[in-house]
Structure formats: C-alpha cells, structure tokens
C-alpha cells in the first residue's frame, strides 16, 4: 500500500476530447494531481447520483498539469455500461473520483536505458513514466502495440519523447504486423536497454517478462485485474505474486500493485489460486517441508 494518502473528490470535467480511438477526460482535481506518481490510477464512480452501478471504474492517469490548481487526464475506450456513461460526459459535469491509487512505477536512481512496452490502453501510464524517466536523464524507447493503427495510443507523442518508437499492429496498419513481443528483443539489443516497463493484457506481460528475464534485466509490469473498489478493501483484484520470502500470496492489484516486479507475478497461475499459495491447500504441506529441511 502506497503511503501517499489518496483523496476522494467531486471533480468538474474540464475538457473531453478524442485521442485516436480513445475518449480523453480531463478533470480539475488538485489533490490528486499534486500527489500523482506515474503508474498510479483513479477510481471513478459511474452512472450519476442515483446509479445502480456501485463499483468504481479504474483508469490509469495519463497526465497531470498545474492548471486550475491541478488537472488530471485519463483515457478510455467504451467497454461496458460504465465507460458508455463516461463517454457521454461533457465539460462542467462533476465526476466523483478517488486518486491517486496504487503502487507507482519505481524509478531508477541512475540515468539508464529504459524500454517501455504497452498494449492498447495499457500504453496510457507509460507516457507520464516516460516524462519522469527523461527528467532523470534516462534514455527511453517505446514499443507500442494495438489491434489497428487507431488503437495504438499516441504514436506521435511517443515518437517525440522517445529515442526510438516501434509500433506493431495485428493488421499491419501501423508499423510491424504482429505483436510487441515480436519486436521487443531487437529493441532491447539495439538500445542496450537496462530495464523494461510494461503495461497491457496479462498474456503480453507474461511474454515481455520472459524476454526481459532472458536478457537478465529488471522488468516492472502494471497489471489490469478486475477491480471493484480500488482501495484495497474488497479483495476482488487478486493476482498470485511471490513475495521476498519466496511465499506466493494472493496480492491485491489495487494496493499491492498494479505495478509488480515481472518475475514475481505467477502469470501461468493468474485466474487460479496456486496450490502452494499462502493459505491454499498445498501451502501447509510446503511449510512443513520447509521446517523439516530447516530442522534437518
């Protein structure tokens, strides 16, 4: 759990715009803007005051600006009822919003070479990260993918910020036809990357992690597990993660994550409770074994 206290506020919508295939909403939210660190997200209430929808919707923060005391921008595509409602918001409407939430991307102390890998809307949190890394003198290379050109988020900006920006699309409408993982190894080699940051669907994160581990470089992934509260109390967003003590726990993506060290996430077991996870049927057996080993 991050030690920065999130705040809950009723934030006026400043602007609504379209960025590629995404809706972008900027709200005035000084408390959130000033606390924000890249990789964090907001939890937005949807449906209005009399809404039948109780769970909040989570969106990575794309950008914060000092205007009006502090603004926050997030982007989304329409996936269900909540995002459909959000897509109808207009400037001056109020949004009930909590943030910043979650563990941010850890930043390297030294000016190292960083490759940022994003799939679809997963690219969103990589942009503030890229800016933060640049401010520290890091080299930034982008690898962004999407189903089609319009789903590759913010390609122009990526080109502008980064040393190199490589794109992949399923249909070949932009960059290489294929997936980000098809080109990542080459980028790592050419850029002499020291660290990988990735955000996107689980299967992508899993492959990116494998590649990073192959090169023996640190990998930070930001996961998107279904969330209901975003604040750590509902226990719905769990992912099996190996702790420093070697024990697998069902970690909450919203407060223990969403950013984890890639090699700690048991991607093969996502959507299950691994047999040897803390409190799972096989855990007891294992800990007895450990004790036996220690005793022996």
């Amino acid at each position: 759990m991050s030690d920065v206290r999130p705040v809950q506020m009723s934030s006026p919508v400043l602007t609504v715009r379209q960025v590629d295939a995404y809706h972008a909403i900027t709200v005035v939210a000084p408390g959130i803007a000033e606390r924000f660190r890249s990789g964090q997200f907001v939890a937005v209430a949807v449906g209005g005051e009399h809404s039948a929808m109780l769970t909040r919707r989570m969106f990575a923060i794309h950008e914060v600006k000092p205007d009006y005391g502090g603004t926050v921008e997030f982007l989304f595509t329409v996936r269900g009822k909540g995002t459909a409602w959000l897509a109808e918001r207009r400037s001056r409407d109020l949004l009930d919003i909590i943030g910043p939430l979650g563990r941010p991307f850890p930043l390297p102390r030294d000016p190292v070479n960083c490759v940022l890998v994003g799939g679809g809307s997963g690219s969103v949190p990589l942009f503030p990260l890229a800016h933060a890394l640049r401010r520290r003198g890091c080299r930034v290379d982008f690898v962004l993918g999407g189903a089609t050109a319009s789903r590759v988020f913010n390609a122009m900006t990526a080109r502008r910020i980064a040393e190199t920006a490589t794109f992949t699309t399923d249909d070949g409408s932009l960059g290489t036809k294929g997936r980000v993982t098809d080109v990542l190894a080459q980028v790592i080699e050419e850029a002499y990357s020291d660290v990988v940051y990735a955000c996107g669907p689980m299967p992508m994160l899993r492959e990116v992690t494998a590649i990073a581990m192959h090169y023996g470089i640190p990998i930070q992934v930001s996961v998107e597990e279904t969330m209901a509260c975003g604040t750590g109390i509902c226990m719905s967003c769990v992912v099996p993660v190996v702790g420093e003590d070697g024990i697998t726990r069902m970690a909450r993506a919203c407060v223990d994550g969403p950013v984890f060290r890639g090699e700690r996430v048991r991607f093969d077991d996502v959507g299950t409770v691994p047999f040897d996870a803390l409190g799972a049927p096989g855990w007891k057996a294992r800990s007895v074994e450990d004790q036996a080993r220690e005793a022996g």
Binding site: Q8, M53, I233, K284
Partner: protein
C-alpha cells in the same frame, strides 16, 4: 455573558446523544463497519479517522491463513455486488500480532469477526482473542462451511450453529460480548436466532449476504469463480430490514447489529427503526471509502431534523403503535 438555561438546553438538544448500548457493550455511536468490507481498518484509515465510528468490525479471521477463491471474485449487479472472496486472510497469529495492535494504536474499537471450519477452530479463535488485550467483542460468522458436514454452512443446521455459539461463549473471556452473525438464506431465521440466543449469544448480527449468481452472457459462464456468490448492497436492503424487523419482534431484548445495503443516514435510520441497535456499513465502502463517516453525519442530521435527542429512543420504533415514540416535538 453566561447563557441562560433555555439556550443551553436548546443547544444541547441540537447535538443528539448517539451512544448505544448492546447489552454490556456500549458504543460511542451506532455506526460500525461490516465484516470483510473494511479489512482490519488500515485501508480506510487513509480516508477517515477510524476511532470516530462505533467500532471496526474486522474481516473474518481464521485459524490458519487462507488463500480464498481465485479471481474473478466480484461481479456488479443492479444496486448490488455478488462476491466470493472465500475468507482470504493471514490467520489468527498475524492478526493478533499485527492487525489488532495497529487498530488499538489508532484508538479504534475492535470487534473481531471469526470464521472456522469446525467447532474446535472457533474455540481456538475465541481463546486466542481472549488472551489478546483490547478485543471489544467477537462476531461469530456462521455462514462459513462446516467441514464436518460436507461444507454446508453452519447456519443450515440450527443445532450446529448453536453448538458453535455455545462453545465460543464458554471459551471467550466473560467480559467480551459474543454476537452471532446469520445469513438470511435459512429455513426459519427467527428460530435460528432463538437457538443462538439460547446458546449464549449476547447479540445478533443480521444479515450476511444472500445467495445469488450472475452469468456472464459473453463467456456464458458464471461471472465469479465460485459460481454461486453472496449478494450484498442496497439491492438486499429490504430483505435485511425484514429480517431485523422479524427477529426484533420475536426477541425485543436481544441487541442486533443491522446491515445490508446501508449507504446513507436514512438507511441507517431505517434499520434502527426496525430494531437494530447498531448498523454496519459494508458494500457502500467499495463505492465510497468514507461512507461510515458520512452515514454517521447524515444520521445525526436526521435526528436533529426530527428533534430526536437520543438515538436509542428510536430503536425498534417502527414496531410501536405510534411511530413517534421518544421523539420530541417537530
């Protein structure tokens, strides 16, 4: 200039007395958290001062650590959520060493919910909590699978439920009140409540979630990993109010912690009128992490608007021939 007696009286009348007594247990105000919807208070403490509510009711603690159900664990339903967390938690050792002292250090009152798979496990939990200092009360979550009977909930068999309650009451330190928490999915809630009281429960917590299911029409599979889940939130409020009303009608002297869909001061008031002496806020916290404080403020406002001086005077008032019992003019 000293205030005259009338002004003093008027000013005092403006700040209702929110203290409630649940048998031996006195709370500063009737608003508490619902078990499993507030962890052990740490996450909510980032949003409000947890010492200011009546008590923090913890997530049900088990003897051993539990990993719970795999994801997806939650699905949104109209004005509700369906969940299957499966009692994930670190177990009683970690709770007593880490979570309980932290709660006390924050000045919060700790009502500890316990869940076991057998009478023995409940006894162990009661023992450990009696040895630890600072436990305000124990809430016995009886909607937990009884492993000796093929995983049926303890509440499915009133005898089994009563056995657990009796064992916990016998084991726990005598100055720690024991509340039995029941689910509405039972053949006869009033009878079950009666058995629990006869077995020694100092009070009841009503209600746990209602059995339900959501099918994802895209995957064509149940939306939560457990298949069946527990329904909570405003959707079930009328069901919960009916339970509290019926049980209070049958056992007016038994204190009840009421819950199920409370999200506003008016909702809290509804449960008090039905016969609850305290109210727990659960699912509403997922939407609004400050909901407990807001409910408390709104409840106070409702009392002021009605000229009610003592919140206790409203408990069960919907049962009286006259709705206005204990209500001052206005």
């Amino acid at each position: 200039m000293p205030l005259d007696a009338e002004t003093v009286a008027e000013t005092a009348a403006m700040i209702p007395d929110l203290r409630v007594r649940l048998g031996e247990l006195e709370l500063a105000n009737p608003v508490v958290t619902a078990a499993g919807c507030a962890g052990a208070g740490r996450e909510l403490a980032r949003f409000f001062d947890i010492a200011r509510i009546g008590a923090v009711v913890t997530k049900s603690v088990t003897v051993e650590p539990r990993a719970g159900w795999p994801a997806p664990r939650i699905a949104e339903t109209p004005s509700g959520v369906l969940s299957t967390v499966g009692l994930q938690g670190p177990g009683i050792d970690v709770f007593v060493q880490r979570d309980l002292p932290w709660l006390l250090s924050r000045g919060a009152r700790a009502v500890v919910s316990v869940a076991g798979g057998s009478v023995d496990e409940y006894v162990t939990l009661a023992q450990r909590l009696s040895e630890a200092p600072g436990v305000t009360a124990i809430e016995v979550n009886l909607s937990s699978p009884d492993l000796s009977r093929g995983g049926e909930h303890f509440t499915a068999d009133p005898e089994a439920a009563a056995q657990v309650v009796a064992a916990v009451r016998e084991t726990a330190r005598s100055d720690i009140p024991v509340f039995a928490k029941l689910s509405p999915d039972v053949a006869d809630l009033v009878a079950l409540a009666g058995k629990c009281v006869a077995a020694g429960a100092d009070g009841l917590a009503l209600v746990n979630t209602v059995r339900g299911m959501v099918i994802d029409v895209d995957t064509m599979r149940p939306a939560v990993a457990g298949g069946m889940g527990g329904l909570s939130g405003p959707a079930i409020r009328p069901i919960a109010v009916a339970c509290v009303y019926q049980v209070h009608a049958a056992y007016p002297e038994v204190p009840i912690i009421g819950m199920g869909g409370i999200g506003t001061g008016r909702d809290a008031l509804e449960f008090l009128l039905a016969g609850a002496s305290a109210v727990a806020v659960g699912t509403a916290l997922f939407h609004d992490p400050s909901a407990c404080m807001r409910v408390l403020r709104e409840l106070e406002r409702e009392l002021i608007d009605r000229g009610v001086e003592r919140v206790e005077s409203l408990i069960g008032a919907a049962h009286h021939g006259m709705g206005g019992l204990g209500v001052a003019a206005g």
